[in-house]
């Protein structure tokens, strides 16, 4: 059984002996031959030892028998002693276990050791029966990670649930007037929360004194004259507090997305100190600058919802930090402009001011828009498809 193993061991030993003598390399067949010689020599010594012992009437060889055998094969104790004195000690390269390796058999515990009470016909010192699951059919519960497709679906479902929760929250908090609708009509993603516009545009009321639902969108409507990020933030703040009818007439509810996004984008372009470059951070910063009012919390919700869009806009531009953001280049720009025109046709001047001529030819591009929506929905597959099922 171990013949091959020990043959290999003998090869290594022979090679080591040669190496000790100064050989740099050994031919393979020469090494095999030497190993064979070595093995034969050991066997020969053992055989002669045994024969000598038998000759003396013993069955086991002792040292004298070995010495006799060695003398027969041409060696003496003296020569061996000289050999040990002259040459260096070269231990074997690897540690070898004592073969054959014996392992203690692990007996199954008896009934008494376990403490199990066997049937009356079985004595308790006998080994116990194997566990029931080894021979009985037990129910197998399906693990978690079985079907990758199912897992993906589940992930999408969970995500959709989370989004729906967020949307419903936003539904409850934000206003449902035209301007809010315009932000949602073109993106199917916001379909769920598209609410009919049944509110009056807040022409004359202070947004902070208005009903809670109407406050957020008004805050987004900023006059375009304000410059600077911090100025934007202040403008956001001031809009709420001012009850200037002139100003509020401008703030009909057309959110100036460009202005709304601009603080974010300016911050991302030039790393303003104290403001994080992320859209979220900037939106929050603008939020912090808002002064009081019950609308403050709601705006945060709304802006928080929008920030995602902002982020997406920003990221679709690619390296947003190197290029200045151009609203007209944004893929949603046209849709946003068109939606603005659709939902608030009476504010055409404002729209023209804000968006220029983006998407002015909406009639002929309406179907193109629909097609683009279809493509977009195809990209947002996981979310949209599940939306349709709800």
């Amino acid at each position: 059984m171990y013949a091959d193993f020990f043959r290999g061991v003998a090869r290594v030993a022979a090679a080591q002996i040669c190496e000790g003598l100064g050989f740099v390399a050994v031919q393979g067949s020469a090494c095999d031959a030497l190993a064979d010689v070595l093995v034969r020599y050991i066997c020969e010594v053992g055989q002669i030892t045994h024969e000598t012992a038998e000759l003396a009437g013993r069955s086991e060889g002792n040292v004298f028998d070995v010495i006799v055998a060695l003398e027969e094969l041409g060696q003496s104790i003296e020569s061996l002693r000289e050999y040990t004195a002259d040459s260096d000690e070269i231990p074997f390269a690897r540690p070898l276990p004592r073969l054959p390796i014996t392992r203690r058999m692990r007996l199954p515990p008896s009934f008494a050791e376990i403490g199990e009470e066997p049937s009356p016909h079985i004595p308790s010192f006998l080994p116990s029966f194997p566990d029931k699951h080894t021979f009985k059919d037990t129910k197998v519960y399906e693990g978690r990670a079985n079907d990758p497709r199912k897992n993906r679906l589940m992930v999408h479902k969970e995500r959709r649930k989370g989004e729906l929760a967020l949307l419903s929250l936003q539904d409850r908090t934000r206003s449902s007037d035209a301007t809010a609708n315009y932000l949602t009509t073109d993106s199917r993603r916001w379909e769920a929360r598209a609410t009919p516009s049944n509110n009056q545009p807040t022409d004359d009321t202070n947004p902070f004194l208005a009903a809670p639902n109407q406050a957020p969108c008004n805050l987004l409507a900023l006059p375009a004259a304000e410059q600077g990020a911090s100025g934007r933030a202040l403008a956001l703040a001031h809009t709420g507090t001012k009850s200037d009818p002139e100003r509020s007439s401008e703030i009909i509810g057309i959110p100036s997305l460009l202005d709304a996004f601009e603080p974010t984008l300016v911050a991302s372009k030039s790393a303003l100190p104290g403001q994080s470059a992320s859209a979220q951070g900037t939106a929050d910063a603008t939020m912090h600058n808002l002064e009081g009012g019950e609308g403050g919390w709601q705006e945060r919700i709304f802006m928080g919802g929008e920030t995602e869009e902002v982020g997406q806009l920003k990221w679709r531009q690619g390296d947003h930090q190197s290029k200045p953001f151009k609203f007209s280049q944004c893929p949603q720009a046209r849709r946003i402009a068109q939606a603005a025109r659709n939902t608030a046709p009476e504010c055409a001047e404002e729209i023209a001011f804000q968006f220029g001529s983006i998407g002015a030819d909406d009639d002929e591009k309406r179907d193109r828009r629909a097609r683009a929506d279809a493509i977009m929905s195809g990209q947002v597959k996981g979310i949209v498809e599940d939306d349709s099922t709800t």
Binding site: F6, I17, V37, I77, R98
Partner: protein, 154 residues
Amino acid sequence: MNLAPPTEDHTPEEDRYDENPKSSNVASETEALPEGAEQFLAMLEEYTPTIPDALTEYYLTRSGCPEPSVNLVRLISLASQKFVSDIAEEAKWYSTQRIEATARDKREQGFDVKDKRLVLTTEDLASALKEFGVNIKKPTYFADNPSGGPAPGS
């Protein structure tokens, strides 16, 4: 050897032989064990031969000496190691001869350019083993023989 006639007494064989220790072949060696040998054998317990004990034990068990003591095992390992190293030294002598002759012989320069390394080749080993009485000559192989293999009669 004292050949005791078969008797009725059923004493075990060993006892009969033990009565006459001089009858065994090993008797001469019992007294003639050299003085240094005992020390040497005792020293063997610390000495580690190149040939591992497991190897020697295995082959000794196969050839008739099961479970030998450590002394015996080490002794036989050492003896085998010396034997092999003697052979290798002979082969080394042959190969050094070959290396020194390289400068002269053109034919050898063909296959052993300027390699001064000691390599144990089968040819050197064969020459060395011949002196020990072991023949490992490779059978001759004729390439132009259609059947190949050794020539008839070799």
